[in-house]
């Protein structure tokens, strides 16, 4: 089979055993790869009500068919498990060069099960797979770890690693590769920590076949020219995600000071223009012609980032209007291996609790000293860090103020305030992995250049459903957000993979199928109800100033929107997919 290696590497950490098993090609045809294939494997292997940090919860790494080929942006990898943060299904995406390397080693996917009895380094050197003692690497930050592993193993090896945060099972510990690339959300790092794995190293010297290589190269040259290196995508090279900062600010949807305002007066110090002044160069993931990443230098601080979400949640939301301070905070989180959205959300909340006199965490909005100290305290569980490591919801509940926590299903919210972009309320409430902005880009239609009204929920259930199905099929590729491709380009590329042609309808059905699998999984795991914090929808939460002043969705309208969403999805009133819907999608699994 071209494009696929047809092999899954399974490592049982409890037994210390390694097996190579065939990829389920029937599922590959039904789900392509990435998100869809991962979800089918997760649904099959995670027992109901599994404890997220137990040996029962597998940690899976899936590639897509185009990883390890020249198809731009498809070097992305998806990491999956039952999320330690939310208890939902988790699919967390990361770029860099790990996925192609895994393919070149001969595997489409890697599945870790069980728990190692001692700190372990997984070393995949083509066909030779070893579980090595990893005591000497414990406690290392990502930069030191990757440098040491390159020296100890192979200068060309790639790594998927835990920082100190994951070693200590922080619920929002992320996995890191190529230093700055993160499988950020949902706490996959905590699960890898629980499995006693510090890092997975891979070196692959084999090949990924694509059929007639000459024909494929010729077609790819055309696709790149016509569909990738166009103004619709090149903004991502020229600016990257920082381009979004001003757009969200202008719309009054910028989370500011723990979601108490929709615009930040320090915006101009942390926007794209501010960081362009200190940009050293552009960086790219492996096999990506776009290259969205920015490498910055400020004084002795050097590295990639911050990206938009970090600017919003760790910048504006913490009242930090200084490019260098924010940059240093981001670098610290990256090296410790912790998601910046959750870290920023929790820190902003601790600042808010201090300001309101709920509890004194010794830091206030805009206070650089306490802010910069926070990531290491949280990762290591020192001082106030031990309490902050509980996460926004549990921290707020502990002091009797649950209403202050801005999270959905215990995932701290990202940088689009639904009061400035109403559709996001449904997006957050219904996202498969909790409060996430990457499942439905309804905000793009409302405030990032689209023409839908941001202050209305009318018709937004349908818009959200379309986006969720579309991104789901896009993430099977695994195509990146920064290639604004349509179904037509997916079809052109998939024609090289499968002999039979996919229709647009069939592609959308693959996305819908994956989305319904996630719903089955979440029901099986008894995930909590779909909702958003009251502050974001009730009249009392409306802003008193700014472009979105006075606007509120209202609990009734939100409930109607959610009911409409379930109905259009073919789900019953409790949000459970009906038999008819599952049959229509050809899903053989049931709750």
């Amino acid at each position: 089979m071209d494009f696929y290696q047809g092999r899954v590497l399974r490592i049982d950490l409890t037994e210390g055993s390694v097996a190579v098993v065939p990829l389920n090609m029937e599922w590959a045809r039904q789900y392509i790869g990435g998100k869809g294939l991962l979800f089918r494997y997760l649904l099959n292997e995670v027992p109901p009500s599994a404890a997220p940090l137990s040996p029962d919860n597998p940690l899976m790494f899936f590639t897509g068919p185009f990883a390890g080929t020249g198809v731009t942006t498809c070097s992305r990898l998806v990491v999956g498990c039952k999320s330690p943060a939310t208890g939902t299904i988790l699919d967390s995406y990361v770029g860099g060069s790990f996925a192609p390397e895994l393919k070149f080693a001969g595997y489409d996917a890697l599945i870790l099960t069980g728990t190692a009895s001692q700190p372990t380094l997984v070393w995949i050197n083509d066909d030779v797979v070893e579980l090595r003692q990893a005591d000497k690497y414990m406690g290392m930050g990502i930069a030191q770890l990757e440098e040491t592993l390159r020296r100890d193993l192979d200068t060309n090896a790639k790594f998927m690693s835990n920082g100190p945060a994951g070693e200590r099972l922080l619920p929002w510990a992320c996995l890191s590769t190529d230093q700055y690339h993160k499988a950020g959300r949902g706490g996959a790092g905590a699960l890898m920590g629980a499995k006693n794995v510090k890092s997975i190293a891979v070196r692959g010297t084999g090949s990924v076949s694509v059929g007639d290589a000459q024909a494929f190269l010729a077609d790819l040259r055309r696709i790149h020219k016509d569909y990738i290196l166009t103004p619709a995508n090149l903004w991502a090279h020229e600016e990257g995600t920082l381009a979004l900062v001003d757009m969200v600010q202008v719309a009054g949807a910028m989370p500011t000071r723990n979601w108490s305002q929709g615009q930040f007066e320090g915006n101009d110090n942390i926007n794209s223009r501010a960081y362009m002044k200190v940009r050293l160069k552009k960086r790219a993931c492996s096999q990506c012609a776009i290259g969205c990443r920015n490498f910055h230098v400020i004084g002795d601080a050097r590295g990639e980032g911050p990206e938009f979400e970090t600017v919003a949640i760790c910048g504006a939301n913490c009242g930090i209007g200084d490019a260098e301070t924010l940059f240093r905070f981001n670098l610290a989180c990256d090296d410790l291996g912790m998601d910046t959205i959750s870290t920023g959300g929790v820190v902003a909340q601790a600042m808010d609790m201090t300001e309101r006199g709920i509890h004194d965490f010794g830091m206030r909005f805009g206070d650089a000293e306490g802010y910069l100290a926070a990531p290491a305290l949280i990762a290591r569980g020192d001082g106030i860090g031990a309490e902050l490591a509980l996460g926004a919801r549990e921290l707020a509940a502990r002091y009797g103020h649950p209403e202050i926590a801005m999270q959905v299903k215990n995932l701290e919210l990202p940088g689009y305030d639904p009061r400035g972009t109403f559709g996001m309320s449904l997006a957050y409430a219904t996202a498969d992995r909790g409060g996430c902005h990457q499942r439905s880009y309804v905000q793009a239609d409302e405030i990032l250049g689209g023409s839908l009204p941001p202050d209305s929920l009318d018709g937004k259930a349908a818009v959200n459903i379309h986006w969720q199905n579309f991104t789901s099929v896009k993430y099977t590729g695994i195509w990146c957000e920064f290639w604004a491709l349509e179904l037509e380009e997916m079809r052109q590329l998939l024609r090289h993979v499968w002999d039979d042609d996919f229709s647009d309808d069939e592609l959308m059905r693959i996305g819908e199928r994956a989305w319904n699998l996630s719903r089955l999984f979440n029901i099986r795991q008894a995930v909590e109800a779909d909702t958003v914090p009251a502050r974001l929808i009730e009249p009392g939460g409306a802003f008193s100033s700014g472009p979105s002043a006075g606007r509120y969705i209202g609990a009734d309208r939100f409930a109607r929107g959610l009911a409409e969403y379930y109905e259009l999805r073919g789900w019953d009133a409790s949000g459970t997919p009906t038999e008819a819907k599952l049959d229509a999608l050809g899903i053989d699994a049931r709750v």
Binding site: G70, R221, A284, G303
Partner: protein, 168 residues
Amino acid sequence: MTHVMISSKRCTGCHMCEYACSAQHEGAYRPSTARLFADVNPTTAEIKGHTCLQTSCAKCQAACPEGAIVTKDITMAIGGEFSAKRNLGDTFQGTVLVVDEATCTGCGECYGVCPTAVIRAHPERNTAVKCDLCLGDPQCIAFCQNPHVLAVDVKADRAGRSASPGGA
């Protein structure tokens, strides 16, 4: 003198040149066999390109005991939609060093002398492999397509530029 260069300053570290190179020469994507590569330190963003300097270096040719590395005239056509080298014209003349696989014994004398470490043993065939500029249409340049990057490009001397197009 005609050869490919990678600009450390412009290169984003996407390795697209290595992907394309391996697909062209191996019939499948296999960057570990690419005839050029970019050493990328992901933490510091330091990038060093490794490319064959062809006849302007020729240390491999001098080291080969079998005379298996031969000079070959080629016609380059690297117009490409985004090439930075439009001023070279549609085609121009150049020379490359290619491995004559029928003569090469795979003895490895050439590997150590290469200053950029780009002449290497083929993982299956018992022979050295190196850059041949795709005999005129280098895929590494073709796939360094981002108009803001164009890090992989060709260097040609005056003689190459002034040669009449189309000749061999």
